[in-house]
């Protein structure tokens, strides 16, 4: 490779790196609040079924705390985890309703 070509190559790489959009957090607060609210509804449903997990409430409380502190990324991650947990608890309840007898003596 000629020196000119090498220089052009590195210049292009440099420009690409400089001009590439930096990672920014795009989720807005109302979306996060919506996820928290959906997760809370699922948690309540799991609770009604008698299968709520102790960890879900903690995740929801932490998500709200992070949102209040302005840490949207953390808040969103926690809210999504709470949502997934509550959903899993409901699945667990439904599975138990259908299959509990299979392990009975």
């Amino acid at each position: 490779m000629k020196p000119i070509q090498t220089l052009t190559f590195f210049a292009l790489v440099f420009l690409a790196l400089v001009l590439a959009p930096s990672k920014s957090y795009s989720e807005n607060s109302s979306d996060i609040i919506k996820t928290i609210s959906q997760a809370e509804n699922l948690r309540l449903e799991a609770s009604k079924l008698g299968f709520e997990w102790t960890t879900t409430r903690i995740l929801l409380a932490d998500a709200q705390k992070a949102l209040k502190a302005g840490n949207k990324e953390k808040a969103n991650q926690l809210a999504k985890r709470a949502f997934n947990e509550a959903e899993s608890a409901i699945k667990q309840a439904k599975f138990a309703q259908q299959h509990w007898n299979k392990s009975a003596l």
């Binding site: 008698g50 299968f51 003596l105």
Partner: protein
């Protein structure tokens, strides 16, 4: 003309065939449905069904631990873990629940404002009543545990109920259990409502819950006898016989409901309230599974 008549005859034949099939199917459905309705209410021998469950449950543990006598299963983990058993026997030289039993006796003998006492609610207390609980009350259609019966007695005598897990109620329960030592559990399920309560308890026992996805049966049937960290997992047979229990961890007497709450928290499931219907049904199921074992409460555990 002929072809029209032929078509009419065929149509009529098809219609009658469909109607006949429909009538027959309806009759069959009625018969089946009527049979299942009856089977669900009158024809089942609940006592027999439950006793078959008891036999299967108990046989599992007898086969799993062939060196343990059946009567020993009321000692929980100390029936299967010889090392812990030695420490426990030494601890029983000066039982940590002794003061609570004495306190329970004093509380039990106290009169209510109307002059009556607990003895009026538990006339057979000297012979022992613990082995009769939990029982299914047909009138109120619910499982009544000994702790609930103590509070029902207070309320019947215009006295405020005690808080569950308070020192007073566990002491009275401990005293009544102490007087019942040696009596055998022999609870029977004789009605559909009692059977439904039993079944609800059984369903809870075998249902996985919590973030760790564990059922009571996973620990106390599937992996009983193995180690969970430093502790041997106790067999599911005989759990309620030693209740209330003095746990060194608690430093006081506690009911089986408190233990249920602890187990649920351990698997990261939100626990139910003390004396909730869910836990009373579970206690009912577990106690029935321990039919034939002697009352040995109050007991002590690590």
């Amino acid at each position: 003309m002929r072809s029209k008549a032929k078509a009419l005859t065929i149509s009529l034949a098809i219609i009658s065939s469909i109607s006949l099939q429909s009538v027959l199917a309806n009759e069959t459905w009625k018969k089946q449905n009527s049979h299942s309705r009856v089977a669900k209410t009158d024809n089942l021998n609940y006592s027999q069904i439950v006793n078959e469950d008891v036999t299967r449950f108990q046989n599992f543990f007898v086969k799993k631990f062939p060196n343990v006598e059946f009567e020993e299963f009321n000692n929980g983990v100390y029936a299967i873990d010889s090392e812990s058993r030695e420490q426990w026997i030494e601890m029983e030289d000066f039982p940590p629940y002794e003061l609570a039993v004495d306190e329970g006796k004093i509380l039990f003998e106290q009169k209510f404002d109307n002059g009556k006492s607990y003895a009026d609610c538990f006339p057979d207390f000297k012979k022992g009543v613990r082995q009769n609980y939990p029982r299914f009350d047909q009138k109120t259609n619910q499982v009544v545990t000994l702790e609930l019966a103590i509070n029902q007695c207070r309320e019947a005598n215009n006295t405020a109920p005690l808080a569950y897990e308070s020192e007073e109620i566990t002491s009275i329960s401990g005293y009544l259990a102490f007087l019942s030592r040696g009596n055998k559990f022999n609870l029977q399920v004789n009605s559909i409502n009692a059977y439904n309560a039993y079944l609800a308890g059984k369903r809870f026992y075998y249902s996985k819950r919590g973030q760790l996805n564990f059922a009571c049966s996973d620990c106390h049937i599937k992996i009983t006898g193995t180690k969970l960290r430093a502790d041997t997992v106790s067999p599911g047979l005989g759990h309620p016989t030693g209740m209330p229990v003095y746990r060194s961890k608690w430093g006081e007497l506690g009911s089986i409901g408190r233990r249920y709450q602890e187990c649920n928290k351990n698997v990261r499931a939100v626990p139910f309230d003390l004396q909730s219907e869910v836990y009373r049904n579970l206690e009912y199921f577990q106690t029935i599974m321990s039919n034939g074992l002697e009352v040995n409460g109050p007991s002590s555990r690590k």
